[in-house]
Symmetry: C2
Subunit: 136 residues, 2 copies
Amino acid sequence: MHTYKTVYYLYSAIECFLIVILIEAKEVIIRMALKLLQINFPFNGPWRDEMAQAYSELAHKLSETPGLLWKIWIENSNGGETGGIYLFEDESSLDTFLTEHIARLNSFGIENISAKKFDVNEPLTQITRGKLKQLS
Amino acid sequence: MHTYKTVYYLYSAIECFLIVILIEAKEVIIRMALKLLQINFPFNGPWRDEMAQAYSELAHKLSETPGLLWKIWIENSNGGETGGIYLFEDESSLDTFLTEHIARLNSFGIENISAKKFDVNEPLTQITRGKLKQLS
């Protein structure tokens, strides 16, 4: 009978321990903010539809980047600037992509690249209708 | 009979003219790129959940901005920087908002604001799953 009780207490203790770990893991997942990458650099065109044609293949390649939720392509033909707003699931995917992408842009002869990493504040973004995750 | 024919030709000519105008207007609407506003400025917190609490009221106010499709709130507590990525239907709504918003930020004692306007390249953004319009 004593053995039975001991096993029961041990089982309860393990169960409590696991529940605490699960709650903490969930907390960590909730706390992990989506990462936004903001890239700007000087550019001389092509712009608009011609830009879309010129970079369509690159866009398809980028769309397969691990951890990339989406990219918005931005252009300012008056100011001679372009770039992108990227949303990543996590920082490590962003960092891997950024290293490769800066090297690619440099290989195109592009310099003076501004690349900034941000966390997304999701509660505020939700209030202002920001589109973040994939809607399936 | 002559009068009838004249009226008919005149009617056909007006119809053709209206159709051409409609086609051109549609083309202009298609060509009008969505406008993205990228704002960054130095900031000392609050960050994350405390930021969300502090600016929840402002977020609700901003969400009513005419022409604003969405805003993503961004923060970098390590670099002491925050800001937003805004998507507007058109440039005039963006300009009206920007003037008001810069004045509001200045009234909070915030200076050294970087505000950049871009067109969105929609075909490329579509390939990379960028979330633009409201999904109803």
